[in-house]
């Protein structure tokens, strides 16, 4: 639970950074577009064992990532907010997302 809420706040923070610093707004938030990073594609990485010696409150902490920026829009240009949703893909450099 702690890790979940932590990840959620990280996702908000990432959204904030993208919007305020890069002037890009995601505009297509959904379950499929919100992902958690794991170090490796393996069951052991996705569901790590409780490390020996760690306290009972230990929990794996993960970064949250917003994916699929296909509906995102550039707010640095005048009128960006009112642009219709498009399918163009902005290859944003956000935590190493690879979009297609």
């Amino acid at each position: 639970m702690f890790a979940y809420i932590h990840t959620l706040s990280n996702i908000y923070l990432g959204h904030c950074n993208t919007y305020r610093c890069r002037k890009v707004l995601h505009r297509d938030v959904s379950d499929g577009n919100t992902i958690l990073l794991v170090n490796m594609i393996s069951a052991e990485a996705a569901v790590p064992p409780h490390p020996r010696g760690a306290g009972k409150e230990w929990t794996p902490m993960r970064d949250g990532v917003a994916s699929d920026w296909g509906s995102a829009t550039d707010y640095s240009e005048h009128g960006g907010a009112s642009l219709p949703r498009t399918v163009s893909r902005l290859f944003l450099d956000t935590s190493g997302i690879d979009i297609m």
């Binding site: 979940y4 908000y12 505009r27 959904s30 990073l37 069951a43 996705a46 569901v47 009972k56």
Partner: protein
Amino acid sequence: MLPFESNASVLNAKVEFYHDLESYFWLAYLISCNCAGPFNMRRDWDGKIKLSATHKTITPSSITGLAEIKTYGKILDVDCSTSSNIQEPITPLYSQWVRPGVHSLSLMEIVQQRNSVSDTDFANLMTPYFIRHKIVREGMLELRSLFWSPETQSPDNYVRRNTIAPPTTYERVLSILRRIRDGIDPAKDQYPQDQELEYARARYRHYLETGNRTPLLVDDDDFEGHIVSKRKAQSNARSIHGSTKRARGPGASEAGFGAPAHRGTASGMWASGKSKMKAIA
């Protein structure tokens, strides 16, 4: 995407940053209604609906008391069909927007159902994993209040929310989230036992091997309908290869995570080392 769309952006095409904040809030809320624990443990809605059919009524409070954890069976036993529900279950209209199958609702229905749920029901619809933490219950209500104007009771006794709340800020959302996070009692939030972790790994391995993932908010029956052609193809493949696994194929699983109908172009998207939000939720 539909279930996560902010109320304002449903009613107004222009998307502002605070609409995305609201979408993330609805995503967080729907996860807390549909995940019974960490590592993609699903809530057993079917069991509750069957039970409600015998009682003829179902309330969010009765749902909460009866929540069971779906672990091994639901995910691994993919051929365990839901078509055993011969009797059409009685489903309360007001909670359909938090359940699998929400994609069959229209935008306005979702907004109406969201707006008509009381504070108590709103909190009680979350799974015990979430609401056993007082701070989560209160925090989610507080977050909701950022995106909504308060309830008003009209002369005909209906509770309404007619106006849309003023834009919120990143700082307000983050300060509430951090307060929730830091207020969680570690004694009530312990890492799962080894056995449970093994089940979770088995589910994850199964997903990696087959790409066979049941999307969080897609009704099983619904989903089957969309992949029927793929299943035919698979059954042909099976007769050739003699495999008993029923894989949905990469296209179906990836496209189907959020919305089965209109995201068919997403193939190959989840190829690197990531797991989905719900996998840990």
